[in-house]
């Protein structure tokens, strides 16, 4: 079974630029999560999707971050404009259903904002 796929693996941008990350969850997984992991810290949930609907985006900085999962499969997370403090690893995870406890993580995208 293929795992969660993410791209790109690394991205370097200047502050105030825009960036987008892509995630393809494990096939058949209805629930998709985006996390931000700042160096030296545990992952922090940004947004949770159930199929193509948002379940929880309470910790998403909506003035600059947006995410979509239009067809309920793959998802895109965008930052516009980026700030220095957005430098982090952005992790995507998926689970079969919203009530399934175990989340399976992708390798992450490491973002560096200069």
């Amino acid at each position: 079974e293929a795992g969660v796929a993410q791209s790109p693996r690394y991205k370097i941008i200047e502050k105030r630029q825009s960036v987008a990350f892509w995630c393809n969850p494990i096939s058949g997984h209805a629930t998709l999560y985006w996390y931000q992991q700042i160096l030296g810290q545990g992952p922090k949930l940004l947004i949770q999707f159930q199929n193509n609907g948002v379940v929880d985006d309470s910790q998403l900085p909506k003035d600059r971050f947006s995410a979509e999962r239009l067809k309920g499969v793959d998802s895109t997370l965008k930052i516009q404009p980026a700030k220095l403090e957005d430098s982090a690893v952005y992790l995507c995870a998926s689970s079969p259903t919203r009530s399934t406890d175990t989340q399976y993580f992708g390798p992450g995208t490491r973002l560096t904002v200069l």
């Binding site: 969660v4 545990g42 949930l45 929880d56 992790l91 390798p107």
Partner: protein, 113 residues
């Protein structure tokens, strides 16, 4: 790739010894707990989980202990191997919060050959 946890607490053990990694969780209403292992440049990998109606659960070479009285979780790794070197995170879930996981700060385990 760049290390995940440059400023994390570190536990250094000799190969073959047992390791104990501790975690204090914050929410007394949390009903599910997970330990994840994260190697450099990779996403977190599920190790073992436990529900709040249990106080101990064993897997292959790993045991998780839950003490709800003091809100403490521990991960025991038997016969630690070099491949166990990684950052370990505990995470908690509260039943009325969907499937939202709250992660702890992590501990780096270094295994000396």
């Amino acid at each position: 790739g760049e290390s995940v946890g440059l400023h994390l607490p570190t536990l250094s053990v000799q190969e073959g010894d047992n390791s104990i990694i501790n975690c204090a969780y914050s929410n007394s209403a949390s009903d599910y707990f997970i330990w994840y292992k994260q190697e450099s440049g990779k996403g977190p990998q599920f190790i073992i989980d436990i529900r709040s109606n249990m106080d101990k659960r064993q897997g292959q070479r790993v045991t998780v202990l839950l003490n709800k009285t003091v809100k403490h979780l521990s991960l025991q790794i038997a016969a630690t191997q070099p491949g166990d070197s990684a950052v370990y995170f505990c995470a908690e879930k509260t039943g009325n919060a969907g499937n939202m996981l709250t992660f702890g700060g992590g501990t780096r385990l270094m295994v000396k050959p």
